[in-house]
């Protein structure tokens, strides 16, 4: 039972992920890219699913800002992308992302198990 924030501009996918994670017993909020940093730092979720390619703000910029903040540095962030060889993935991992998922290759079930794995491995954020 964790608090999860999803930052994803594709409404359909966001809906699907929210559905799956909710079924998995978590509490899920979907936020827009422009509000993401603010909302993440305010809510301090247990995990963030972060899309890289978004219209207003780049996922990598959001990641860096969150990680730079003492409030956000401990939150595990899983990057979402459609391109396996994207250099952004490597950059994201350097900026402190926990890992990444290829949206087109990952079923909702697999997303849930990945999220659960990450939650087990990391210390939950202080309430």
């Amino acid at each position: 039972m964790a608090n999860i924030i999803i930052v994803e501009d594709d409404i359909n996918l966001a809906t699907i992920y929210k559905q799956k994670l909710t079924e998995g017993g978590h509490s899920v909020t979907v936020v827009s890219d422009s509000e993401a940093v603010k909302q993440i730092l305010a809510a301090k979720p247990n995990l963030v699913l972060l899309d890289i390619l978004m219209p207003n703000v780049s996922g990598l910029d959001i990641l860096r800002e969150v990680k730079a903040d003492p409030m956000g540095s401990a939150i595990p962030v899983i990057l979402l992308t459609n391109v396996a060889e994207d250099v952004s993935i490597a950059k994201g991992l350097q900026y402190g992302a926990y890992g990444y998922l290829l949206k087109s290759e990952t079923t909702p079930d697999q997303v849930l198990s990945r999220v659960n794995m990450a939650l087990e491995e990391t210390v939950p954020a202080a309430p």
Binding site: N12, Y17, Q19, K20, E85, S104
Partner: protein, 578 residues
Amino acid sequence: MDFTTLSLGLVTIIGTLAGIAGYFLMRRKFERELENGRAGQVELAQKAYETAVLKEIGDRIGYSLDGAKIVEIVSGSLGKLLPYSAVSYIILDSKENKVRFACNVSETVSANFVREVKTKMLAAVSEMNQEPLTDTGVDEAISGAILDDTLTDKVASFFNLPVIISGKLVGLINVSSKLPGQYGEKNTEVLYRIAKQASEAVSRLQEVLENEKGKLAQAVDSLSDGLLMVDTKYQLAIINHKLKSLLGVGDKPEIFDIVNALSGQLDLRTKMEEAISRGEASVLEINFKEKTLQVFADRVMDRENTKPIGVVVLFHDITDARALERLKSDFTSMMVHELRAPLTSIKSSVEILKPEGQKSENTKKYLGIIDSTSQIMLELVNDLLDVAKLESGKFDIVAASDDLGAVIKERAESFEPVAAAKSLKITVDIEEGLPQGYFDKIRTKQVLNNLLSNAVKYSESGAITVSAKKEVVNGSAVDILVSVADTGIGIDAEDIPKLFSRFGQLAAGRKAGATKSSGLGLFIAKGIVEGQGGKIWCQSQGAGSGSTFYFTVPIAKVEKRTARETPIVFSTKKVAQA
């Protein structure tokens, strides 16, 4: 452009010389013959001999290349036409800035005699050139009979024949004799006429050559590609306007200017040397001042195609073409990503609905259809992306040392369910002690997926055998040879070459009702196998008798036990459009 040889001109001289001389001499012979019966017969013989000599001159000079040679040959043969004690020539070599004097003595004379001849010749040259010419610095070569300094003969008669080409004095031929009156008008008149005719002919020919040069220069200058040509000494022979402006060199550049302009991007000197010695045209791409240029270098052979006379280098601007290709490839990539998002949503939605969907047969069935068709589309999109990458040279292979046998076993196992569904048996045969291979695991799995899926698709019964063994060439193991053999519908020999092209799916396969696929699988497999440094091919006895697909994987050179290697990334070269 600079043509330094006048071979055409000289062939004409000689042709003219021989022809005209022959004619005059024959006519003279006739006249004389009429005058005097018996004397005439002797004359006849003499003149026939002379004609033969002149013809010989013509033949020999046909192969000669420059004014100096001409002078040598003519003087050598002139001696046969006229009586002399010594025949000599002076050659004015303007290329090497030298004066050469050669003298052939037919009967013993004193050294003074020879010196006198030389002085008289130098005086004649000085007068003709309006420029004094001294004895110093003149190369001298004397041959023939021995000189005897006790003799005191003087030069009693002599005759100078100037050789003038295009208004320039090229050389002077001389015959001298101890005896007086040897070279009267009758003897020598014809020779003056020959010399005059010959030099006029050559001058006219030079005009024609200049014209042709001009036309060639115009043609070369109107080329839209940059062009340069050097001779065997790497001196610049031709450079056109386009190349001068491309490189930003001045109007009359030297070869160093060009090499410098290109340095850092292209080692022009080495490329030219390779072209001359290897005789293979080389092509490469360079980036120069924000342009992309294709450079062709090839050697130029002489007319008989026996030896190289220079190198021609062509510079072709492909900047725009490359930009267009990049645009196309970026567009394809963008479309691929745009397609993936909605397809992912479709598939994921189906996933979410599955539990509910089991409740109704209808829902279950149609959810299944949505699932499998959207999966097919996703795979098609993946294939398209791979093809775009192969064609733009951005297809990366990340190879490392790994256990190919294990990968094959794992893939074969994963196909067992589908094979069993068609009552097909899959057998795996990995050679004992198979060495480590050097390959990209993910991509090689992709190749195996494609071959296994094809084997299952196109077989109705029987067995599929996958095997791997060492390939030994000249005593050492070089590759691992993998084969996937089926007992399916087979492939006609004429269709095999098309298999690995972009449009490889054969009509026969489609008829067998196989699930629709992109037909790109084998094309991509080929890109992967070749990118890893291997080969892929197919054998089949024809329709109805099964097929076997082979591919090779290089053997890893370093044992896994030693320090962990950094995997090497191969970028495949641009794959030719198939």
